[in-house]
Symmetry: C6
Subunit: 77 residues, 6 copies
């Protein structure tokens, strides 16, 4: 796998949130490496409320980590 | 996507809670960008106890992060 | 929405726990603002073991935050 | 409700664990105050693997809080 | 119940992980004390992907606590 | 079981993420030690959106611990 997570540092909370979304997706890729299968699954969960909420939960967990790594962007102005 | 998360700082715990609710929703938007589909899903989960509780869990996870970022609003009076 | 979360400070762990229960419920109110719908859902989840356990999980997550905010009530006697 | 959570301090990790179990149960009592209903639900979830695992998750979350409150019982010998 | 959790200290991360697995199981024993019932449930969840993943989640939560208690085994070499 | 977790230290966030994936899988191995059964379960959950998301959640929880253990790789450049 190529370099996709060189650092947890981001310039802003929003970029940190986008990183968290990416981090949530990579675990799925590592468990289901077949892009074709993932493409078939996407519409299923993207139209399913439970799956969307569960995805949002994973993002929230990763965002907590990214936020701590960035000291909550306290120094940013 | 426009700027929606410039900072994790809020004046009060309640504003922090409202930010957490917003953060929970954005992940859903990023996974299901089609507003029409989301509009169809909303009544489904808003009348489903399990989905409501799961949503509340995502909010709780984000709130933990926002609260830490604000040092639990200890300096506020 | 009226002021419902002015502070995370509570006098005792038990009051902190009660605050966590309240925090778990508010997210549900914000997703399903119709009190009538919520009243119809309550008996459904209050008699469903899975929903009760999931609710208890949300309370546990909020309690962790409230406890940290109160420095675990270490100074209380 | 009577005093049931005067402190998060316990003498040992095991007592902390037992407190976490208690904390997981109280949220259920607060959502379903009717002891008779709870008595009917108990055999349902106590013989259901998913419910048992979910209960164990709630205990794990509360234990994390109790352990932090006790500074992980580092001073105990 | 006999002494089963005298300390959260372990010599290595791997022993900490094994302790986390044990901690995940004890909550199940406390909710379903009947060993015979648990023996009947085991094959059910051990052959069910969802239950296995949920169990792994509980272990992850306990491991976070054990790791913090051991200061992430930073002093070990 | 052989030594599989000698340390939580990794050189980069990405290696930390890979370690988190491994940590998520080991709990499943410990609950279902039969490799043949696990091989039969893999295609089931690898083609099921809910299971994939739940797996990603476990990885997120372990990654939080690994990231803290590495002080978020702040010293790395």
């Amino acid at each position: 796998m190529t370099q996709w997570l060189p650092t947890l540092k981001t310039a802003t909370p929003q970029e940190g949130y986008e990183l968290a979304v990416k981090m949530a997706r990579v675990a799925i890729k590592m468990t289901q490496p077949d892009a074709e299968v993932r493409d078939k699954l996407r519409p299923v969960y993207a139209e399913n409320a439970d799956a969307l909420i569960a995805s949002s939960q994973v993002v929230a967990t990763h965002f907590a980590t990214v936020a701590a790594a960035n000291d909550y962007w306290r120094d940013a102005t």
